[in-house]
């Protein structure tokens, strides 16, 4: 994992890490201490992913050309 992203990972990175954890737990070759730590991390990741999925509102913004020709982001007025 890249150090810059340690606080909040992307959904994809979280899910990939979770898949790796599930796999190593399934193989059963890790020690109990490691397994417990992996389990805790896995549960945390699963929770994070589930919460992200629950986000109810789609965010839509617009790139619009300003007076100086530069583009900037603005809200989209809803229909």
């Amino acid at each position: 994992m890249s150090p810059g992203k340690s606080r909040k990972q992307s959904f994809e990175a979280s899910l990939k890490r979770l898949e790796a954890i599930v796999e190593s737990l399934e193989q059963g070759t890790v020690s109990l201490d490691d397994a417990t730590a992996l389990y805790e991390e896995g549960i945390h990741l699963a929770k994070e992913c589930a919460e992200k999925l629950k986000a109810a509102e789609l965010k839509v913004k617009k790139l619009a050309k300003a007076m100086d020709g530069q583009f900037e982001v603005e809200g989209l007025k809803d229909e």
Partner: protein
């Protein structure tokens, strides 16, 4: 000056205002016209078409009320995808230039697009062939579409049906994405140029994972911007992967061929770009069960080993040490169970809000009505014959589990 005769008036004007030379007025006209009309689109019918031996094309564009001379220099004419001829309806893009020695103005044509369907079809086939030969459609150049994009760029009309379709699909399937719209005209003159600019702008704007470029259905002429060579080259040059979604399922555009992925419709593009959240929640639930099961299995193996050692004679003395180990295993199990049930609750909640029907199948509901599960050594006991006097059994209610011994 009302009372003076015309001759007097004229001489007065000549004295008061310096008269312009022909060259000077022409220079001013040239400046004014060429600045004002430096980039115009003109629709009309070709007449008096002549191809000079030098390769330059000379013709007149006309409609019912007017006409304008036009020239297309050889270097530009060589890029034409069809052969112009008198009588053909076209849209010419170019600029107005004034030729002082003859005191006339003309349209200097940069690009010529046929308007009739037959000509458009020919131009389409020719461009498709040229670009295919050049390698713009090669699979090896296509960029993979990210599996879980966080920011999706959309290049389409702000008022079109395509945007609404994409929004509603994304809201339903995976609303945890951010959508960045860059509104463009998707038909008519200048649309292709706007699309090209939009692709460039999105590539400058760093944080976009994938672009959906498209519009709803329309006639071949309406869809034409997506068949323009400049659009094809912009898609090819994009650093960000592009999904092309133009018109209906049966419509194929040059954009579709050159894009990294073709979607039959804008809605389908939205379906392709994100996964379904109900499916993902199900996947997460399965992962949790797998992790829980694996860890429980590990714990129970360790427990068996500890218990085996406890009951063996040789290890009966240093009992404290063993008890400590046993306690540690118990603690692990307790914390595991509480974390797991918390998560399962969370997942249940989010899943149920999406899939209400699952509620009826939830075994916890059965337990809540007063039923209970009986387990012996972890296995479910489904018959009275499964238990004998003196057996240890676990009874699971909806809110917890109690340990019991079968009485004589």
């Amino acid at each position: 000056m009302i009372s003076k005769n015309p001759m007097e008036q004229l001489s007065l004007i000549a004295e008061e205002k310096k008269a312009l030379t022909v060259s000077e007025i022409t220079r001013q006209i040239k400046l004014s016209l060429e600045q004002r009309f430096s980039r115009v689109w003109v629709q009309g019918e070709i007449s008096n078409f002549k191809q000079h031996t030098s390769g330059h094309l000379y013709f007149t564009l006309k409609d019912e009320g007017a006409q304008i001379s036009a020239v297309m220099w050889r270097s530009r004419a060589e890029g034409l995808l069809f052969l112009p001829e008198s009588g053909m309806k076209v849209i010419a893009r170019g600029s107005i230039t004034v030729y002082p020695p003859r005191g006339n103005y003309q349209l200097d044509v940069e690009q010529l697009t046929p308007v009739g369907v037959g000509e458009l079809q020919l131009a389409f086939e020719k461009l498709k062939r040229n670009l295919a030969e050049e390698g713009l459609f090669d699979e090896s150049h296509k960029k993979p579409i990210p599996e879980y994009p966080e920011t999706i760029g959309i290049i389409t009309s702000e008022t079109g049906a395509a945007l609404q379709d994409i929004r509603s699909v994304l809201s339903r399937r995976f609303p945890a994405v951010e959508v960045l719209l860059l509104p463009v005209r998707v038909q008519g003159v200048g649309a292709a140029e706007e699309i090209v600019d939009a692709i460039a702008e999105m590539n400058r704007f760093r944080k976009i994972d994938v672009i959906i470029l498209g519009r709803g259905g329309g006639s071949l002429e309406d869809l034409w911007p997506f068949n323009e060579e400049i659009v094809a080259r912009a898609i090819y040059g994009s650093r960000i992967p592009i999904i092309s979604a133009v018109g209906h399922e049966i419509d194929f555009s040059i954009s579709d061929f050159v894009a990294d992925l073709r979607a039959p419709t804008p809605s389908a593009a939205a379906e392709l770009v994100v996964r379904d959240r109900a499916e993902l929640l199900e996947l997460l639930r399965n992962y949790c069960y797998t992790m829980h099961g694996s860890l429980e299995e590990k714990l129970s193996t360790l427990r068996d080993r500890v218990e085996g050692l406890l009951s063996s004679y040789s290890f009966n003395r240093p009992r404290d040490l063993l008890r400590e180990s046993a306690q540690r295993v118990d603690e692990f199990e307790r914390s595991l169970t509480s974390k797991f049930s918390h998560l399962v609750q969370l997942l249940h909640h989010s899943h149920l809000t999406l899939e209400h029907r699952l509620e009826a199948l939830n075994p916890k509901n059965v337990l809540r009505r007063g039923y209970a599960l009986v387990r012996k050594e972890g296995d479910l006991v489904t018959s009275a014959r499964g238990l004998e006097q003196g057996d240890d059994a676990m009874i699971q209610f909806h809110d917890g589990t109690v340990k019991t011994k079968v009485q004589p």
